[in-house]
C-alpha cells in the first residue's frame, strides 16, 4: 500500500497539497537543508508498533543522529525520553503549533523560531488540522510529516505506507546518511 490520497478518506486536501516523499533521501536532504528543525512527537508514538519496536524509538534515534531538538506533547513520549536520559521539551501540541505560527517567537531554546517543524505520532485528524493552520498562517515555516499516513496539509509528507516500508524509511533516516 503506497499511495498519496489522504490517509483518512474524507480529508480531501485543497489546491495546495504536501509534496509526497517517495525517496527517503529527500527526507535526509531536507534535514541537511534546514538549519533549525524541531521534531514534535505526539501521543501515538508510543502506541504505533513497527518491526523493530515502537515508533518513538525510531524518532529518538533520528533526533539524536540529526541533533534535532524534540518537543514531546504528552505523557508517554516525555517519560520515554526521561527514561533514555535524553532531553525533550514538554509542550502541548496546540501550544507548540501556535508558537510556530509566530515568526517573532524566540524559539524553544531562545535561538529563534524553527524553520522546519517535523510532526510524528499525533492523532491523524489533529495533525491534519494543525498542519493546515501552519500551511496558511506560517509562511516562514516548512512542515514535514513522518507518519504512515499521507498528511496533505504538510509541505512534505511520506505517502501512505505499510508498516514494513515505514520501518525501512525511519531506519534509513536514523542512520544519518
Amino acid at each position: 500500500m503506497t499511495s498519496h490520497g489522504s490517509w483518512m478518506r474524507a480529508e480531501i486536501a485543497g489546491p495546495k497539497k504536501a509534496v509526497v516523499i517517495n525517496k527517503t533521501e529527500v527526507v535526509t536532504a531536507l534535514l541537511k537543508r534546514f538549519r533549525s528543525p524541531v521534531l514534535i512527537i505526539g501521543s501515538r508514538s508510543t502506541e504505533i508498533e513497527l518491526n523493530g519496536g515502537k515508533l518513538i524509538s525510531y524518532l529518538a534515534r533520528i533526533a539524536e543522529v540529526w541533533k534535532i531538538p524534540v518537543v514531546t506533547t504528552n505523557r508517554s513520549a516525555s517519560l520515554y525520553f526521561a527514561e533514555i536520559r535524553r532531553h525533550s521539551f514538554p509542550i502541548p501540541v496546540i501550544e507548540i503549533a501556535n508558537l510556530l505560527s509566530d515568526p517573532g517567537w524566540k524559539g524553544i531554546s531562545e535561538n529563534g523560531t524553527p524553520d522546519l517543524a517535523i510532526f510524528s505520532g499525533l492523532p491523524y485528524s489533529m495533525e491534519w488540522t494543525l498542519l493546515s493552520g501552519l500551511k496558511h498562517f506560517a509562511p516562514h515555516l516548512k512542515t514535514l510529516s513522518l507518519e504512515y499516513g499521507y498528511e496533505p496539509q504538510a509541505d512534505y509528507s511520506l505517502p501512505n505506507l505499510d508498516m514494513n516500508k515505514f520501518h525501512e524509511i525511519l531506519s534509513f533516516i536514523g542512520r544519518g546518511e
Binding site: G14, T72, S78, A82, P90, P92, I94
Partner: protein
Amino acid sequence: METGIGFIRDLEVSVGHMNIERWDEPQGPTPFPTITTFRNWDRQLLSRYKPFYMPFCDLCCLCTFGKCDLTGTKRGACGITMAAQQSRIVLLASCIGAATHVSHAHELVSELIKRFGPDFRLDPGGLSVGVEAPLIRLVCGLKPETLSDLETVVSYLEREVTSLLSATHTGQEGDPLDLESKVFHSGMIDHVGLEVADIAQISGFNFPKADPDAPLIRLGVKGIDTKKPVILVIGHNVTPSVSIMEYLKEFHSADSAEVTGICCSAIDLSRNNKKARIIGPISWQMRYIRSGIPDVIVVDEQCIRTDVINEAGAVNTRVIATSEKNCIGLPDRTNDTAESIINDLVSNKLPGVLILDPLKSAQVAVETSLRIFEERRRTHRPFSEAEANEAALNCTGCMECVRSCPNELPIPDAIQSFRDGNPVNLRELLDLCNGCIRCEQACPKGIPVHRLIVYSGWEKLNNEQFTVRAGRGAIQDTEIRTVGGPLVLGEIPGIIAFVGCANYPNGGEEVARMAVEFAHRKYIVCTSGCSAITIGMYHDEDGKTPYEAYSGKFDAGCILNVGSCVSNAHISGAAVKIANIFAKRNLRGNYEEIADYVHNRVGAVGIAWGAMSQKAAAIAAGFWRLGIPVIVGPQGTKYRRMLLGRGDIDSDWTVMDSRTGEEVYTGPVPEHLFYAAETEEEAMMMAAKLCMRPNDTGKGRIIKITHYIDLYRKLYGKIPDDIYRFIRKKGDIPLTLKDSIEENLKMHNWKESPIPDPTRIRSYEGKSGESKR
C-alpha cells in the same frame, strides 16, 4: 357596533404583553444588547486570546463566484481572507447551534402556554432559588415571572440570531475579529435560550427544582423488560416523551410499557419521571436501534440519526416523528384519527408517521407498541453467530474501515482475531466506538462492521447496569452563598463542567475518570447532556457509579448533573450568580461588568471532551464571552479555530487594579479561552491551570498551583517551567514544593507582583474611551 363613523364587526384589540415591574434593582446599562453592544469587551478578550485558525478546507464555496482558493494570503472574489472565512464558518456553526436552542425554547414555551396559559408562574427552584433566571436578568434586564415573560425574551433572541446569521452573507462582515465578536454574541444569546428552555420545562413539567438529591435513574440496557412493549425516545425536546408517560399513566399504567431514551430527551424525561430509563448517549443510537428491542421509536429534534427510518425499518420498528424541524420524509398524519394511524402502523402499511401533536403522538406510540410487541418478539431475529462468522470471513484487511473511522480503530486486526476464534479484540472496540457507522459505508465487501462489533460486545452491554442522577436544574442561592467566597478566593480550586457530545477519542471512560479525579481533588464537578450520561456508565472498585459515590450538591468534591444540553445555562448561571449573590454586583442588564467579574475571579472551566455539534459550539461561545475557558478533545480542532493566549508575552497579562488605578501584571490567568487537548492527562493538567484567576488569594493560589503542578508532573514527569509566571508573592508557593519552585524563580529572574482587585473594563475604558456606556 354601530357608531356615527360606521359599523364595526369582529373587532379585536391586542395591546401585546405588559411586563409589570416587580423588581427594584435599577436597570443596568445594556438591557437587550445588540450585536455590537459588547464589541469592546469582546475585542479586549480577543486581544489576549487570539484566534489560531486551522482551516478545514482551503476553499470557500458559499456563493456562485466560488469556489475561491483562499490559500495563504489569497482573497476570495468577495475580498474575504482565509482568517475571516474561518471566523465566518465558526459564526455559522454557532448560529446554527443558537438557532436550534432558541427554537427549542420557543416550542417549549408555546406548548406550555397551550397547556397552562400565559400566566403560568415560573418556578425553577422553589424557595431555594431567588435569582430564578440569572442569564435573562443579566442580558435582557428582565425578571421573568410567567411563561409569557419568556415569550418576550424569545422574540429578542430570535431577532439577534437573525442579525447574526445575516452577518455571514457574502459581502457582509469581513473582519475576523468582528466576526469573532459576533460568535461571542451568538454564544451569549444561546445561553439565554438554554435558560428559557430549561426554566420553562422545569416549571411546566415539574422537574427537580435545584435538588441535589434528585433521584438516581437506571442507565443501560440491562434489565429492560421485553415482556412489555418498549418505546425509545431520541432527541432533545421532551414534550412528546412526557406526553407518553402521561398517556400511559392515564389510560394504562405507568408500568405497562418500558419507556427508554437516548440523548437529552432521555435525560429530561427522567427528570419528569424516574421510571424512565436512559439507554446511553447519542453514540448509542445505532447499537440500540439495531438490537431490535424498541418496538416504537419516537424522535423529536436534534442529534438524531437521519437514517433512523431505514435502520428502524430493518428491524421492523415503527417510527413516529414529532417535530416540524425533523419530518424525515414521513407522511403528516397530524389531522387523522389516532385509530387510523395506529392501524396503518400496526399493519405495516406505513413504516412511520409524522404527528405534530404531542398528545396524539403519545397515544399512537403507546397503543401501537402494545399491539405489535408480542409479534415482534416472536419474529425478531437477532444478528446470528452464523451471520457474524460469514461477515468476518469476507474481510480482506484492505483498511478502508480504518481509514474512515474517526478514531482509526484497528478493525481488520480485530476481525481477523474474531475469525481465529477470539472475539475479545472486537468486543473491546465497542467501548471505543462512537457509532458513526462510517466503517460500514467504506467497506467494499459490504461487511456490517458495526453490527459485528456490537454482536461481539452485546453480552457485556446486556450485563451492565449503571445509574445517573436525574438533572437537578439550577444551583440554589444558598449553595452559591456557601461556595462563593471559597471559589472567588481560590480555596475551592474551581468549577469543572463536563459538557457536550459523545465523539470521544478513546471511549467515554476518560470523561468519567476526569470527573472523578477532579471531584477527588475537591473541585466542584458539574455535568450535563451526553457527558453526564457517559460519566454514569462506569463503576468504581466498590461497584458504585460516580453519581452514587459523590454527592449531587454544588460544593467542593461533588459531582452534580444539572440536566440536558439546555441545562448548561445553570452552569454559566451559577458563575453569574456568584457575582450577584456573593459579590452583590448588580445583575440587571449589566453583562459587561459581570463578565469582567467572572473572568477575573471565578475559576471555572468547561471540558467538552467529545464535542461534535454546532450546538456544542454555541454553548462554548457562551462561556467564552463570560471569559470562561473551554477545553475540547483532539477532534475539537475540527471546529477550525482555537482562542489561545501567549503566556510568554508579559504585556498581554495585565489588568487594572481597581484599588490603585494602575495596570499590573497578573501572569497568564487564565491562559487560554478555547483549547484542544491531545490526551486526557493534558486536558486535566490544562483544566487545573485554567482555573487560576488574578483574584486568587495567596492561600487559594497555593491550592491551585499544587493541583497544576501535580497534574503537570503526571503528564510530563517534572515541574512546569512556567510556574514562575503564576507566583505573585512568596506566599503563593506551596511549602512542600518550596525548593524546586524557588529554583525556578531564580532561573527566571522572578520579581514579586501585587495581587490586584482586577478589572479589564476600566482598563480599556481608561485608555480608549471607546466604551459604549
